[in-house]
Every structure is written in C-alpha cells, then in structure tokens.
C-alpha cells in the first residue's frame, strides 16, 4: 500500500527513503544471504552428499538422466509460472499434458498419420485448452482455480472417450474389431529418446530452449513486464492502457502450450498412449514453480527459479532412488522441501519491508 503508514519508523527527514536505502544498508545480513542463496546451497550440498554416498550419482550419464526425468515436469512448471505471474493458477496442466499424450498416440496409431501432424495437433490442442481456460476466467468470471479445476476433470474424462478408456498401443484392437494399423513413427519416438552426442537427451534440449525463450519473454520483453504488472495490480495495469483480458487469456494459452509440449515428450518416451502416465505431473510441476519463488530471493514466480525448482525435485528423487529409499518416502520428501521453500519465501521474508 502506498499510505505513509507503511513506513515503520517515524522518520522526520523528508527524504527518508533515500537515506534508508542509500547509506544505512548493513554490509552483510546473514538472513538476507540465506533467503537469497539458501535453496541453491541446499541443492549443491545435496549433490555432494549423494555423490559421496553413491559415486555413480555424479557421472555424466546419471546427471543427464536426472535432467531427462525433470524435463517434462519442468515444461509444465514453466507454463504454470506464467499463470502464477498474473496472479492466476492453472490446475489443468497435468491433464492437458495427458490429453496431448493421448492425442498424439491417437493421431499416429489409430488415424495412421505422421509425426508432424501429431505434434501440430497436440500444440493446437494445448493452446486451445488454454484459450478456453482464459475465456472462462476472463469472460465467464469464474475464479482461476475453479475454472481450471473444472477443465482438469473435463479433460481427464475427455481423453478416454475416443478409445473407450483403454491405453493406445501399436496394433491394439479397435471398437470395430479390427487392429490399429498405425504406429509411433521413429521420428516421434526420437523426440523422447534421442541423445545428442549419445549423451544429452533431446527432451532436455527442448526443455532448455523453451526455458530460455520463456525467460527472455518474461524478463526482457515488454509482454512479460505487463504480465507481472497484471499480477501485481490488475486495475493499475488496465488504467495504464494494457489490454488486460487479452494478456490473461494469452497467459493461459502459454500454459496450455507448454503442457502439451510436455505431453508430446512424455508420449515419445513412453511410446504408447498410457492413460495413467500424466497422473503425478500436476503436483510435481506446481511444486517446482512454487519452490522457484525461493530461488535468489525472487519472492515471485520466475522462470529461472522454476527451472531450478524442477531440478531440485528431480535431483532429490533421483538421489533417493539410488540410495534405495522406498517409493513412498519420495512424496514425503517432496512435500517437506516445498514447505521449507515456501517458508523461505513467505515466512522469513515477511519481516522485511512491507
């Protein structure tokens, strides 16, 4: 708020702000340091600990398989970051990805079409779902959480209708009794399985490229600036002349698009239209985006933080798996990390200004 009462100490000098921030800044504050770098330090410590306990953890191949494992989650998390930036939320990303997975399988296996068409159909579908979300929220005035929750359920059901609830696989029996003639093309499967220099998985490259593009878009372009402005003060942004409604719809379209890319990569890796593959995607990616708030003390949704957040969760899970931790410990640890990261962001930081 802008009222004078937000200044905690009564300071008689008129240029109070200049004095406070200009010269009176403490040389080093341990708390500020922890808030800023805490998560990165924990990530580094984690890598070292896993490496000491299990030397195989640190070889290049394992490092890249961590990245491969997080690439789909990261893509979804990047998308949801954009909706978080406008102070919205997209709960439908998980089922959008699942929808994209089923749609690509359907196009190739049952409709017997090529790679390009499958990819294009998925991307259009993802953007369209985002568009619908945006319209429901902006024009239908449904709160973001509820609109995207509804969309999530809708998609979960919809993706199963064309196949009668069955997973799509090469040569599967269709409803008219004949066998499906199509197959996953090699080019499509390569999207999920090819490794550049026999080392770097293609999904990792796709994810990194997408992350860099989105980072430039959010941090350097005027569109990103306006999106953050909408998240900060929608009314002020509208009165500053921005077409807020269009921006909000666009944010959900970006979210849907990224989710559909994630779905494509997942389909390419799994190599079948598995009805259950997308189930944990939503929570993992939301966790990654929220952990991202704590990276470098950003205290807001940000692309770099989201990428680090996804990496953080991936490293943790990979390390725990290598150390033979039971599967049920993983969700527990994920939750623990999320709670602490949020505490970094909101709890410890709240005693600062504002």
């Amino acid at each position: 708020m802008s009222t004078p009462s937000s200044n905690p100490a009564p300071n008689p000098a008129a240029p109070a702000a200049a004095v406070q921030t200009g010269t009176a800044k403490p040389a080093f504050s341990f708390k500020d340091f922890v808030i800023k770098f805490g998560l990165l330090i924990i990530l580094a410590v984690m890598v070292v600990v896993f490496w000491r306990l299990e030397p195989a953890f640190a070889n290049a191949r394992n490092m890249f398989s961590i990245l491969q494992a997080v690439s789909v989650t990261a893509l979804l998390a990047l998308g949801v970051t954009v909706t978080l930036a406008i102070a919205g939320f997209d709960l439908s990303i998980g089922s959008t990805a699942a929808m994209s997975l089923m749609a690509s399988s359907y196009v190739m296996v049952i409709l017997n079409q090529g790679t390009l068409l499958a990819v294009i159909v998925c991307l259009l579908l993802g953007a369209f779902i985002g568009f619908l979300n945006g319209v429901l929220i902006v024009k239908g005035r449904i709160p973001d959480l509820l609109a995207t929750l509804g969309m999530m359920f809708l998609l979960l059901g919809l993706q199963l209708i064309p196949t009668g609830g069955r997973s799509i696989a090469k040569g599967m029996t269709l409803s008219d009794g004949s066998a499906a003639t199509g197959t996953f093309t090699d080019a499509f499967l390569a999207l999920g399985r090819y490794r550049l220099f026999d080392l770097i998985p293609l999904p990792v490259i796709i994810m990194l490229v997408a992350a860099v593009i989105l980072w430039v878009f959010m941090e350097r372009s005027r569109y990103g600036r306006v999106l953050y402005a909408i998240g900060g003060n929608e009314k002020a942004t509208r009165l500053a002349g921005a077409p807020v409604e269009r921006y909000k719809i666009a944010a959900y379209m970006i979210s849907g698009l990224f989710a559909s890319i994630g779905g494509i990569l997942l389909a390419a890796r799994v190599g079948r239209g598995d009805v259950t593959s997308g189930s944990s995607l939503l929570l993992d990616s939301v966790a990654a985006a929220l952990i991202g708030y704590a990276v470098l003390g950003a205290k807001k949704p940000n692309v770099f933080g989201t990428a680090v957040g996804a990496l953080f969760v991936g490293t943790l899970l990979n390390g725990l798996t290598m150390l033979n931790a039971p599967y049920y410990a993983q969700d527990f640890v994920k939750g623990l990390v999320l709670v602490f990261a949020l505490l970094f962001t909101f709890g410890f930081a709240s005693s600062q200004r504002r």
Partner: protein
C-alpha cells in the same frame, strides 16, 4: 467449532475476527432480556460529554495526520465531522475506535481515561463504528436473522448446534429494541443498500453503544433509503446516543447535524453549531487560506477538447466545456459532485448518458483506457496505491508501464532507453529516491505521486487528466508537481481534479465547479471571487440556509 461457522469465517474473516473477540461481557443475552428501551440505552442527561479528547496527535512517518486535536462528543447529539480527503478525519476516527494508537494526547470516556490498544477495547468501552464499506460489517451469504445474531453464533462457549428458531427469536429481540422491521429470512445479498446499512447499524446497536460512528453511511443510498436511515438516527439521538456522522453530503448535514466540526490538514479548523453556516463550513473545508488573485492566468491557446451537451447520468443537467492548449483547468466541487465520473467518461472507463467529446476537431473514441491513451488522453487516477502503482515494481518499472512499446525493439525492452526516460523524469520532478531500481513502496507519498505524474509526462498527449494529484502529498512535493505541470502545459490541455481550493488556486488558470454531476460555473484565476466560488460549490444559492 462447527462447519457452519468455519464456512462463515471463509466468507468474511474480517467481520468474524472483530466479532469473536468483542463479545460483550454480559452482552446481548442481558440486553435482550430487557425489553425497555431505557434499560438498553441507559438514558442519562443529554448534552453531557461522553468523550473528551485533548491534545491528540498522530504521525505516520513524515506525515502529521492529526495535530493537537481537542474534541468533545456529547450525548444525544449528532456531530458532523467534516473535511476534504486527507484532512485527518479518518485517522481521528481510527484513533477513536482503537485501530491506531495516538502518539500523544488524552481521551476520556465518561470521565475515565482510556487508551485503546485494539478495536475490541473500543467496542468494549461502548464506541461502535459502522464503516463506509458496509460489507465489512455483514456477512453476505447469511440471512438477515443470522447476521443480527452473528455475535451469538460466533460465541466460543455458545451451543454447538443452532436452531433456526433460536436465531430468529434473538434477531427479533434486537429488531424490537430498535423498532426495525427487516425481512429476517432473506439473504443479506438480496437486500438493498439501505437495509444492509440498517442491519449493520442494528448489529452495532445491539451492543448498547455510547458512541456510534457512522462513516459516509449514505454514500451508496438513494434519497428514500437515506430518509429511512435518518429516521433511525434521529430516534437514536433522542435515546441519548452520541453520534459522530461523517459525510460529504451537505443535505445530510442539513437534516441531521446539531454541531459540525471541520478538519483541515490534521487540525480542527472550525466548529459550527445550529443554525449551521454552510458557506462557512465549505470555506473551512476547502480553503480558508486561499489568496485571491495570487497569480495571473495563462491564456489558453487553440481549443483541444470540445465537450457539448454532456450529460453524465440520465438525471444530470447537460453542460458544454472547452479546454484549451497551454492552460491548466482545475475541476473542483465537493466529493460526490461527479468530478471523477466525468473524468472516467473521458478516459473510457465509463460511458456518459449523452453528449459529444471532440479532440482537435475529431470525435473522441475511447471505450477503454487503451483507446483513450491511443487518442492522446492520459489520466492519473485518484488513489495511486490502488489505481496507478504496482507495489512489487521498482520506480523505473512503474514509471514506464504504459509506454513500454516506445522503449522496445522487437518487443524486447531496451534497458538504456527505458532508464534514460525514467532518469529524466526523476530529475525533472526532483523525485527523491536512492535509485530508479528501488521498490516504489520505499518512496514517500509525495515522491510516489511524482512517479505517477512522471509516467504520464514521458510521452506528449493532447489532454492530461489528474484526479486529486495532491492527496497525501506534502507541500514541497505539491509545489514541485505544480511547477512541472505548468512547465509542460504547452501543447496540451490539462485538467486537474481538485476539491481543495488552496491547491486549486496554486495551479489553476481557470477553475470550473461541478455540482450534482454538472458543470455549474467557471472562473478565471484573475479576479477570482472566492465567495462566489464557494457558493457555487455548496449550492447555497439553490438551497438557501438551514432552517
């Protein structure tokens, strides 16, 4: 706690927070057993002081919001507390009802010294407030009966299960005491504003207040609804309740007030008793320090804006208005006169009922701020915190928000250009900030306002509208803003909305007066007659004096 209550808390946490803790010790229960009015409202001799305030001071940072205020509030009296925005009324009220502690000064209630630490303590001492936003005082999703009995419902030691009959009975009891007849079974959300207001007041009254503070109770009421409220207020006065009535509506004050206290710049400037001198009140409110003819008017150049047969609402009188290049025109009038509504019609956030607006001879097509800005109409809104600034953004990012396109190549913001523009505004307006990258919240109110102005000076425009640019702005910053406005005035028309006449005369070449959503007069700053101006603002000519 049961599910129902939790649900209520989700819907309206603020109300419940206040409620749960302010349960009266003996409270409702006892009050309701008594059916006689006197028992509830404890009749004592009218005219005796309930509250005696001496030497009250309150500072917020560098702003001295309340300065050496002495005030007595008497039983059975309606005290009108008046003053323009930022005069210190709301701070004074917040001290009274325990929201802010005073920095110095004393407050006595019935001769006993009090020092409220929280609103609950003020409530316990018998001071109850019905805030301007009445939705803060009622829970929309519940019925009228549930709202009236809400205090009982929220009592921690109350029964686990509530019967509808018990709630209704309790609500009836409260109604009977107040002589109200409300539709108990209806949901709050189905009620009109007046009825909601009455419910909120009834809730406050069920605590047997000594002092009832009503903050702009009629601001959203129709005439008939207001009349209904007045009857209740008059009844309460007759019962000996002290009523502090905050309103900008002169007609309310005419009807109700026994005494009027006018605040300005944090001080009590004048006190009026019946018969109230309304011109005197307006004088005290909007500018007793105004020096007439202090400055020569700058003659306007080419006509930029031509407004013809402009009717803001279906019932307001149509008016014509021309704005010229190079002149600064101040639009003044009391709050509720329609100044902001008029500006919103020009900026595309509201649609007038009728009339035409031409800019440079071409019709203005502005159905949204985006279009208005494209047509060269810029506007800095009132209430910069909510309408102009993004709290999370730096000075730089706040300043350049509307004109990012200008600083972008291939949609990417070019930092050099952006920073150069912002730095230029910072030095032109003498904005005090450590750097343009500090958060906007670290600046003082005056400097924040300068940032808002600087934003709209980055690009040239045809019409610049500033709505109350001096709210919460210290005198130094006010002068800087005024100078800069004048320096840049050539080449555009400038319209400043400003209720304070002292501020108005500082910057205006021409002052136009708005009342009842219509322009009722215009005066050049040369040979300005303050009396004529004040008469136009208050509408004294049409209403004569208080009977």
């Amino acid at each position: 706690m049961e599910v129902g209550l939790v649900f209520v808390i989700c819907q309206d946490r603020l109300t419940i927070d206040v409620l749960v803790a302010r349960l009266p010790p003996s409270g409702l229960e006892e009050a309701l057993c008594q059916t006689s009015v006197e028992a509830v409202f404890g009749m004592t001799e009218p005219g005796r002081e309930v509250i005696r305030i001496r030497g009250l001071n309150k500072r917020f940072g560098s702003t001295h919001a309340v300065i050496d205020v002495d005030l007595d509030i008497k039983r059975g009296e309606v005290l009108a507390l008046m003053g323009a925005n930022g005069a210190g009324k709301s701070t004074l009220i917040k001290i009274l009802c325990g929201v802010h502690p005073a920095d110095s000064g004393t407050m006595e209630i019935d001769g006993e010294m009090v020092d409220f630490r929280s609103p609950l303590e003020a409530c316990a001492a018998g001071i109850h407030t019905v805030h301007q936003i009445i939705n803060d005082g009622v829970v929309q999703q519940l019925t009228v009966a549930e709202n009236l009995a809400l205090d009982e419902i929220c009592r921690p030691e109350g029964p686990m299960l509530l019967s509808r009959a018990a709630i209704t009975a309790r609500a009836r009891g409260i109604q009977a005491i107040l002589g109200l007849d409300l539709p108990l079974g209806k949901a709050m959300s189905e009620l009109g504003q007046a009825e909601r207001q009455l419910v909120a007041i009834a809730r406050a009254l069920s605590h047997d207040p000594k002092v009832l503070i009503l903050d702009e109770p009629t601001s959203s009421l129709s005439e008939a609804e207001a009349a209904r409220l007045f009857v209740l207020i008059e009844d309460l006065r007759a019962r000996g309740v002290a009523i502090v009535y905050i309103s900008h509506r002169m007609s309310d004050i005419r009807r109700l007030a026994d005494r009027a206290v006018v605040m300005r710049d944090g001080r009590v400037r004048a006190e009026f008793i019946r018969p109230l001198d309304f011109d005197g009140i307006v004088h005290a409110m909007v500018g007793h320090r105004v020096s007439e003819g202090a400055r020569a008017a700058v003659a306007g150049g080419r006509t930029v804006v031509e407004i013809r047969d402009f009717a803001i609402t279906p019932t307001s009188a149509p008016f014509d208005l021309d704005l010229h290049e190079g002149e600064v025109v101040v639009l003044t009038g009391l709050i509720g006169a329609g100044k902001t509504e008029f500006a919103e019609c020009l900026f595309g956030t509201a649609t007038p009922f009728a009339g035409s607006v031409m800019i440079d001879g071409k019709p203005l097509r502005a159905a949204s701020p985006q279009q208005a800005i494209a047509e060269g109409v810029f506007m800095a809104h009132e209430d910069r915190g909510n309408s102009s600034l993004v709290a999370e953004f730096s000075v730089l990012h706040n300043m350049t928000l509307p004109f990012l396109r200008q600083f972008s190549k291939l949609s990417l913001v070019v930092p050099d250009q952006e920073r150069r523009a912002a730095t230029g505004q910072v030095s032109d307006l003498a904005i005090k900030c450590a750097s343009i990258d500090v958060p906007i919240g670290s600046l003082s109110g005056g400097n924040q306002q300068k940032v808002v102005l600087g934003r709209w000076l980055i690009q040239p425009c045809r019409l610049l509208i500033l709505d109350e640019p001096f709210q919460g702005v210290d005198i130094g910053a006010r002068q800087d803003i005024g100078h800069r406005l004048r320096e840049t005035a050539a080449g555009r028309a400038t319209l400043v909305i400003c209720a304070d006449l002292e501020e108005a005369t500082e910057i205006a070449d021409r002052i136009i007066v708005m009342r009842d959503f219509s322009v009722v007069g215009g005066h050049s700053i040369d040979g300005l007659s303050l009396d004529a101006l004040v008469a136009e603002i208050s509408g004294a000519g049409t209403h004569a004096t208080f009977a």
